[in-house]
Symmetry: C2
Subunit: 256 residues, 2 copies
């Protein structure tokens, strides 16, 4: 029923409908990130592949896009199913479509990145233990140079086993870090990596973790407060062994 007349020409001569063109599979993959200032590193959630291709290796949580499902909804569903998390900040990252990125056939993936605070991230990882793993990202470049990052397993001992990611997922993770660093330069997305209320110090720690470099404390305070995006809650920390700091809250709700 589909002769596929393709010696060289791409577009068929007569049939012009959607059916005239072979269709690729389309998936979404999500880089779910949390900042871990204690280790000066970003962590990402990875899942073990149980089947070929790349069976046994680690991959980003992902899945096929339903034929009637919006892309954002697919990404959200993947996070819900694989990480059991809802209501996370999420943005489209980039679409990867190299013809040979999946040995099974043509698969185009729309990559997203998602940000959660460390507590939710750890809880999610613990609940899905066995199916998922926490990967630490060692970023080998500065600023927004870009490029792949080293992905290593996070052991309590501190030992760092390299994790081989399936497909082009290493590249995707690298782009997520690059994008996040870029955003941090002009908007304090760090909010999304913290619980609803937080101190300025915590926000600075998160920013430093993402950017991979120390920031000036005074200037950071001034800049963030001047942006007007934070509202003081009037409350303070209470479980610290020193003067407790004011707690702030993200002033405007950010979409998607």
């Amino acid at each position: 029923m589909k002769p596929k007349p393709k010696p060289k020409a791409k577009a068929p001569a007569k049939r012009r409908g959607l059916g005239a063109y072979p269709r690729p599979s389309v998936t979404v993959d999500v880089v779910l990130l949390a900042a871990v200032p204690a280790r000066s590193a970003l962590h990402a959630l990875v899942v073990r592949r149980s089947e070929p291709p790349f069976g046994g290796r680690w991959a980003l949580p992902g899945g096929f896009v339903g034929i009637d499902e919006p892309l954002d909804a697919a990404a959200r569903r993947v996070v819900r199913e694989k990480a059991r998390l809802a209501d996370v900040f999420m943005e489209q990252l980039y679409t990867f479509g190299s013809p040979r990125r999946d040995p099974r056939g043509r698969v185009i993936t729309v990559a997203y990145y998602a940000l959660v605070d460390e507590a939710r991230f750890r809880q999610a990882a613990a609940e899905a233990k066995g199916e998922v793993a926490v990967a630490r990202l060692d970023v080998g470049w500065e600023g927004e140079t870009g490029g792949p990052v080293d992905v290593v397993s996070e052991h309590e001992s501190g030992a760092a086993l390299p994790l081989l990611l399936a497909f082009d997922h290493g590249e995707i993770v690298g782009m997520a870090v690059k994008r996040l660093r870029g955003k941090l330069d002009y908007t304090p997305v760090g909010f999304q990596l913290l619980p609803p209320s937080f101190t300025l110090r915590q926000l600075q720690d998160v920013h430093e973790t993402v950017l991979g470099r120390p920031l000036n404390k005074d200037s950071f305070r001034r800049r963030i407060l001047a942006s007007g995006l934070l509202d003081a809650t009037g409350e303070r920390q209470d479980d610290v062994d020193h003067r407790p700091a004011e707690l702030y809250r993200f002033g405007r709700q950010s979409a998607t």
Copy 2:
């Protein structure tokens, strides 16, 4: 081993290969932009649709992605076929996948934006006269607020006929402008909207056209020259009726 208790589940139970999931059509659409400082506006190339859906309306140049064709290659092919242009700066913009964006069925489009200098743009539009039109973009928002832009036909009289774009192409154009403005804040992409050698004044005019606001001349010169991205050619303008300015050249070749 994995019961999958999902009454509302979409994925088939047994078949796990690519064939198990219905596939959407995938296209690329390109926002081909040129800056026209004389009109203080960006111009985009649009093509008239000859067939439904949206027959008779204007659309971005686009086409289906070949089953073995990289996304970038498809975008490049579209620009070559529809605008007869090669070697243009081009970057992926965003992927639009609302299930109802095309009445024929599920079509996901990977949008790109491309930049050319005004001369090449006009020549391309003239050569394909009848098939394509030049649309002027009236950006109704400042900075990087974002949102759709008014797309009007460019008449020599100055009259502005609104152009109704097909599909969600108005949204795509708006996002292209937003992205371009954003990039201009930290990198002088304006190069790509000018011929190989140009004066600082021309570059500033282009930046002002894209950003939609005037820039400080002194500060612009300092900033651009300090960036080190420009090389002086040693040559000067020769067809102007005043003191000719030094011509500069983009120092590093930018990929894709």
